[in-house]
Assembly symmetry: C2
Homo-oligomer: 284 residues x 2
């Protein structure tokens, strides 16, 4: 997540999920953004998933249904898009969810997604579930700190922050961490920031190196600080994802980078990042 727009959230959610799935882990990608870019990116038409249009439903239904019914909806709305890879798609109506949920009490409206997923895995672990238990769930958030992103933060164990190593991009990080603190201090005490994913990274410029140095310094200070914070163990993750035009092209074909150009630098970088993410998760 990152409230700043156009930083690489969707490109990262889609291609990291695809890389993790290719490593053999059962992976669910949740598109929590009314722009539905992750949905488009994997070749699903957001206009066709709406139940009003005769589709099987979307994350909008999961958020607005009663939690007891939401698990059923989730199971039917999920679409298989590659071996070991499913998506819970978004649709344009998701924008209305923010307004509809405004009347719901705060602790309820920020935990809708989590409770639906928990019910799903409770059923699945019982063996008769509609939904396979997942090894990894990746959530693509919209560029805002509203109720949709809060549902993402309330659901997640870890926060990944995609960003570009540029001066103006640094300005929003403080506000982002405040929001994580609020959720970690409230409905999701296990939430922690795993780190920053550098997107569209230019390894050659001094400017990028200086911004990265700033970030590394910031996390170093957080690690040494006496107080606990959800980003105490956060860091700038490796490898950075280099700028690579193939990553900008493949959404127009409805494909992940691995189905479009599996040996380009963008694919190599996301595969390497996935390996680290899986390795750390196994080690925990």
């Amino acid at each position: 997540m990152n409230q700043k727009g156009g930083v690489g959230k969707t490109t990262t959610a889609v291609n990291l999920a695809a890389a993790i799935a290719r490593a053999g882990r059962r992976t669910l990608l949740i598109d929590l953004d009314p722009q539905a870019h992750a949905t488009l990116h994997v070749g699903v038409d957001p206009g066709s998933v709406s139940r009003l249009a005769g589709g099987k439903g979307s994350v909008y239904d999961v958020l607005t249904e009663e939690p007891s019914a939401a698990a059923e909806v989730l199971a039917s709305a999920m679409l298989s898009i590659a071996p070991q890879l499913w998506i819970l798609p978004s649709e344009t109506d998701l924008a209305a969810a923010e307004t509809e949920l405004a009347d719901v009490p705060a602790a309820d409206r920020t935990t809708r997604l989590r409770r639906a997923l928990e019910r799903c895995s409770a059923i699945a672990n019982g063996g008769t579930g509609p939904v396979p238990p997942f090894d990894f769930v990746l959530i693509d958030c919209p560029p805002s700190l509203g109720v949709l992103t809060l549902n993402g933060l309330a659901t997640a164990r870890e926060v990944f922050i995609p960003m570009q190593a540029q001066f103006l991009a640094l300005q929003g990080v403080g506000k982002l961490l405040e929001t994580v603190s609020m959720i970690a201090g409230g409905v999701n005490p296990r939430l922690r920031v795993t780190g920053i994913i550098l997107c569209a990274h230019d390894t050659t410029t001094t400017h990028a190196r200086e911004v990265v140095a700033d970030l590394v310094e910031f996390f170093e200070q957080a690690r040494q600080a006496p107080s606990e914070s959800p980003w105490k163990t956060a860091r700038v993750l490796s490898p950075p994802i280099r700028r690579n035009i193939k990553l900008a092209e493949c959404p127009s074909f409805g494909k992940t980078i691995f189905d479009y150009a599996s040996s380009c630098p963008g694919a190599a970088d996301y595969a390497a990042l996935a390996e680290r993410v899986i390795g750390e998760w196994d080690a925990m």
Copy 2:
């Protein structure tokens, strides 16, 4: 304006305004974004402008004061930042303006900025004004279609849409034009879309060329359509602004590109674009 984040709105507003001022035209840059990036970009500290902090005020005061007082506020809040170049800065409190203005009737809350500027120029043209009449006013909008951007659209004569020539960037253009239509059909009938400014443009890739071709085609169809629309005479503007690291560096020094690296490609592109913008305006 462009509701998508990180597309080049601020970089364009600041450097185009600076280029127009260097061509000798009296130019006002208005920072309508609570992120206050344009304010930062020209070396002004958004924290220091707030009247609560003893500063001379910001666009927040202009929007929330009674229109009769707003003109005075505008005159005092404006800061001179270069020969012929002034900024009406933003501050963080501007985010609160959206909530505060929600209780104001719709036609009132979207025209606060315009009415304050009109009062200012009425006073100025009377010769005793606090504010110099301006040749050009450039407005940097936030990445949203909320009340701040609506104030920008209600005030402006022309809409410039900065964007990057990438597939996912195309997805938001429809919604943007809908919003322009709504304002042009309501409080600002003279509003028209002048065109698209291609930012961080990569002239070498097929992908960028294909996206530009899509845009050119779209505007061609709008031009030939029998119906009137605010983008009937819109087009992809020239030159595109090439990707140039200097443009990402200079905000960290609080400088426009012309004070940072006046002979780099970024400066050349914005200077050339300014020449076209001025030429068209003079010809109207």
